[in-house]
């Protein structure tokens, strides 16, 4: 394999290769379509997310599922095109080099257009649209002050002044505003079943809103928990409490019993 | 490597130019550090300046540092001309002015400790900015002292690059102060 030592054989080979190009392209396109359809069906059949119990969870899960639909053809494209070349174009004993193809205007142009369009699409939806949806409905029915401390959560229902620790009680279908603060280091207020997360930063009050849509509690759904999601020291892993979503009247009764 | 004579590598770029490019890239990198410090300062303090910061000392040490840049400039030119005596003289002037600057900062620190200690918002920014800058000034002074001593003994008669590098570093520290001075005292 000396430098530049290439005979005409490789050139004739190039020609045969180029002649076969349309056929190859059609084959690859067909395989790609087939694989993509199969993959999309598989992706659609799998339930990716755990228990979803809030309006916000639907927005987040829809965004995830849409991105899965969009990412699948990209993934299969690279795998099929690369895989096809890896199988068909492997070295077969002769010392010839491949055809000196340095560029292809059509391929590069298509690539540029497709990747740019895909990026912009992803930015607009689910990106911007999802964010707008999350920020819609800014009116809260219930305000709860959350205080994070190493390593526990404390809640204060702002209207009634009820303070609790441990389990977080919420009424179903009411818009809840959390005002989150921390007394020591950074924590993060995360409820997996609700798909909401906001850091508790000392010296600052952060907010996040949620509308619970399903009844449930930590006893039957592990995702119904307030979990600290930002490393805060030794007790970080165990810094979680349950979340219980109940009907409004049941919530009122609980609040009254708790001293509201 | 037995029979053929080894030729030195040819480069299209001279050693002097390679050194200069490297030095400027170093300044570029350091600029990022000081830019980061300035951004930190504005993030924490907004556009406020503490009232008790001494305008007089600020103006005096700024003037001294600027003046030292002029003497450093003269030293570099003398070195390029091969004028050992003048190089040494201007280097010693720069050293003196630099030392006065450091003394001024030290004096100011002593005052500032009671007015706004590091445990306060402004003190945090003030001591950090002047401290990091003073650290650079002191390293600059160490370089200048070495240059002065070597220049005195005629080691730079043939090659003025070390003087040029040391003086450029000194100018760079001055440029930093050009931005730090208004950020700390004026606004």
């Amino acid at each position: 394999m000396g430098n530049g030592d290439h005979s005409t054989t490789s050139q004739t080979k190039d020609r045969t290769h180029s002649d076969r190009q349309p056929g190859r392209l059609a084959t690859v396109a067909f395989i790609w379509l087939l694989v993509t359809v199969l993959a999309e069906i598989t992706v659609a059949a799998i339930e990716w997310q755990p228990f979803a119990a809030s309006r916000e969870a639907t927005i987040s899960d829809d965004a995830f599922n849409l991105l899965m639909v969009l990412a699948t053809p990209v993934f299969t494209f690279v795998i099929v095109v690369g895989g096809y070349a890896l199988l068909r174009d492997r070295h077969r004993g002769d010392d010839a080099d491949g055809p000196p193809i340095r560029t292809s205007r059509a391929f590069i142009a298509t690539w540029l257009v497709v990747t740019t369009v895909l990026s912009v699409v992803v930015i607009i939806t689910p990106g911007f649209t999802g964010l707008d949806e999350l920020r819609a409905e800014p009116e809260a029915d219930l305000v709860i002050d959350v205080r994070a401390e190493r390593w526990s959560w404390a809640y204060r229902y702002a209207d009634s002044g009820v303070e609790t620790q441990g389990n977080l009680m919420l009424p179903i279908n009411r818009r809840v505003l959390f005002r989150i603060s921390s007394t020591d280091v950074i924590h993060s207020f995360w409820i997996p079943a609700f798909r909401i997360k906001k850091d508790a930063v000392p010296g600052q009050i952060t907010t996040t809103m949620v509308t619970p849509r399903k009844l449930g509690s930590f006893d039957n759904q592990e995702e119904m928990r307030v979990q600290c999601a930002e490393l805060c020291g030794v007790g970080h892993a165990r810094m979680f409490t349950g979340v219980t979503v109940v009907e409004q009247d049941e919530f009122d009764a609980w609040l009254a019993a708790a001293g509201g | 490597m037995t029979t053929t004579e080894t030729l030195p590598m040819e480069h299209t770029t001279s050693r002097l130019q390679i050194n200069r490019i490297g030095l400027w890239l170093f300044f570029f990198s350091e600029t990022m550090l000081f830019a980061g410090i300035l951004v930190t300062r504005f993030t924490l303090l907004g556009t406020e300046v503490h009232e008790e910061v001494s305008q007089t000392i600020g103006l005096i040490i700024t003037a001294i540092l600027l003046a030292s840049s002029y003497t450093a400039f003269r030293a570099e030119h003398a070195a390029h001309r091969g004028d050992r005596e003048e190089t040494t003289r201007y280097l010693s002037m720069t050293l003196g002015l630099g030392a006065v600057f450091v003394a001024g900062v030290a004096f100011e620190w002593a005052e500032a400790f009671s007015a706004f200690p590091p445990g306060t918002e402004f003190g945090t920014v003030f001591f950090t900015m002047t401290g990091i800058h003073a650290f650079h000034v002191i390293t600059g002074l160490i370089f200048l002292a070495l240059l002065w001593n070597n220049s005195r003994q005629g080691r730079y008669d043939a090659d003025a690059w070390p003087v040029e590098a040391g003086v450029k570093y000194w100018h760079f520290v001055d440029v930093v102060w050009v931005f730090f001075y208004p950020a700390l005292y004026l606004l």
């Binding site: - | 130019q17 305008q55 050009v178 931005f179 208004p182 005292y185 004026l186």
Partner: protein
Amino acid sequence: MTEIAAKAVERSPGVTAIVSLAVLTAVEFVVSSADISGSLAMLTVIALVKAAVILSAFMHLRNVLREEG
């Protein structure tokens, strides 16, 4: 050209630079103590000009692109 004349030629850009730096610093000081609106923008511009003076006159920024000098 005599040596003294050569020194004068060499000195003059340095003198111009240090004088303009002094003037600009004085302007800065006046601007800040006069307490006028827009002083932040003015101080920024002045600082940039001062930096440019040092970079070009004292540090010979252009020489990094040239072979000799």
